[in-house]
């Protein structure tokens, strides 16, 4: 985990130095200043130091939890990100819930002879649709067409539903594909006959046994997907004009606000590591095979 975060910070630090142009221009905005003032600013921000010194300084501060100061907003990057973290986490959390429910529903219903091709088609379309387009279609249909949801509101639970659904649909498609495949694979295993022979009902078989087998790979995948939700939130927040990390990232990239971009890179790496850890723990609990492996170990 430390390795991933360090690697990301290092790659990001040096890659972002490749940005052409003088960071001082970003710092002063549109104003015109003398060379003297420029040199002073460069001195103050530590931009005059050798690259290696800057890098080590950044790492040193990073270890203490200091992400630096935004060029554009002149406030700590941790504050800039912190303020916008809540709406994005709400959005992503609800999207994960939606995605899992949708995937579970479609995987459980879509395994009959008639429903399987339909589920396959729906999954394919869900996976293939661009996130921002799904958002626009949902707004047209449910916002403007039926008037069920507010179109531009940013507060309240109602305003969260459409964006979360938008973010959830492509992810649900992928998870559903894997879950259905997993259920099919598990249904072919010998233990299924044993369970049946003991007189277990079909529901009990699926819920207690095959679903547990199939769930592990889907949960690993969900962890991976959370990362891509962060990328998707940039688009969804733009479509729905919501505040959040995605917007912060986009603005920082357009403004070339290097410390903020770097802060988001580090945050993404931390999130990736933490989620992977959680996913491994949960998958161990759910999949019976991993359990026995541990019991014998």
């Amino acid at each position: 985990m430390v390795l991933v975060v360090w690697g990301a910070a290092t790659l990001g630090f040096f890659a972002l130095r490749l940005i052409p142009g003088d960071p001082v221009n970003v710092l002063i905005g549109l104003g015109n200043v003398s060379t003297q003032v420029r040199d002073q600013i460069r001195e103050d921000w530590g931009l005059a130091d050798p690259l290696l010194v800057q890098y080590l300084g950044y790492l040193g501060r990073l270890v203490q939890g200091d992400l630096g100061t935004s060029y554009r907003r002149q406030q700590p990057v941790a504050d800039v990100i912190g303020q916008q973290l809540v709406p994005t986490v709400q959005l992503m959390a609800l999207a994960v819930v939606f995605a899992l429910l949708l995937a579970l529903g479609s995987a459980l219903i879509g395994r009959g002879r008639r429903t399987a091709p339909l589920a396959g088609l729906l999954e394919l379309v869900a996976v293939s649709s661009p996130t921002f387009w799904i958002g626009l279609v949902l707004i047209s249909v449910f916002g403007f067409g039926l008037g069920w949801f507010p179109v531009v509101a940013t507060v309240g639970f109602g305003a969260l539903l459409l964006p979360a659904a938008t973010l959830a649909i492509p992810v649900a498609g992928i998870i559903s594909q894997v879950l259905r495949q997993g259920l099919d694979d598990a249904a072919a295993l010998p233990f299924v006959d044993t369970v049946r022979a003991r007189g277990a009902s079909h529901t009990r078989l699926v819920v207690r046994h095959t679903l547990r087998h199939a769930a592990a790979s889907s949960i690993t995948l969900t962890g991976y997907m959370v990362g891509s939700l962060l990328g998707g939130s940039v688009l969804v927040e733009t479509v729905f004009a919501r505040p959040g990390l995605g917007r912060v990232a986009l603005n920082a990239i357009v403004d070339r606000d290097v410390p903020v971009v770097l802060g988001i890179i580090v945050l993404a790496a931390v999130a990736f590591s933490v989620i992977n850890l959680l996913v491994d723990l949960v998958a161990d609990r759910i999949d019976p095979r991993l359990e026995t492996k541990q019991a014998y170990a």
Binding site: V178, S228, L230
Partner: protein, 281 residues
Amino acid sequence: MSVLVAVRSRRVKRMPAPALWAAAGFLVLLVVSALLPGVFTAADPLRTDIGEALLAPGPGHPFGTDQTGRDVFARVIYGSRYSLAIGFGATLIALVVGLVIGSFAGLMRSLGDGVLSRAIEIVMAFPEFLLALIVIAIIGPGEASLLVAVALAVIPSYARVARVQTLVVKRAGYVEAARTLGVSPAVTVLRHVLPNTLGPLLVMATMGVGTAITAAAGLSFLGLGPKPPTPEWGLILSEGRNFLASAWWIAVFPGLVITATVVSTSILGRHLQARSARRQR
């Protein structure tokens, strides 16, 4: 990401033939519209006519018109050029570079492989879209940037598959045989290892074209791609966003075409995958 998942799952169901034909047909139409847009529409994608602004889809304007009276159908047809160029271009770059990096890592012993694999792993911790955004931050927005950004964002995935595949192929009997027969290492790699590594990557790339098109459209939707009034799909969508209340067709049709494109490439990719899986058995 969907690409990876598909490549990993072992049992692949065959695609029904009608779906396959429909997908191939759609892609052919798309390529024709990119090369010869005049075949499909006589309208000029850039000609504005305020008198005809925001017309609903109907005869004359199958996809309606936008806020300045431009024909949305013509814009979508002419837009296929940009999207296909970026989709195929970025995928080709990612495929070649990924293959080189991946097989390099796979062929090298311990240290080189370790460093490269770690680097790939770290970059893969990032969602592809975020990677593309960061690349744009470095090289600045624009059409060429889209291509480079999308390509760079997916290179790690290709490199990883290429590395694993190289490790498998390296131990195959025919490579051993070639070596025993005294074929030089360079020739062995070029004649035996690379061609056999390429297969799974080509399947991945077929599906990757669709993903690349979506990613590029997303970036240009955010205003990081070509400038208006270029008829690029993502850009048309972002313009349509402001007129959703009165003119849903501006945003809905280009998105529908993107979705159809990605669905088609996925169907073709899965077909290829199912075929290569059968051949291996």
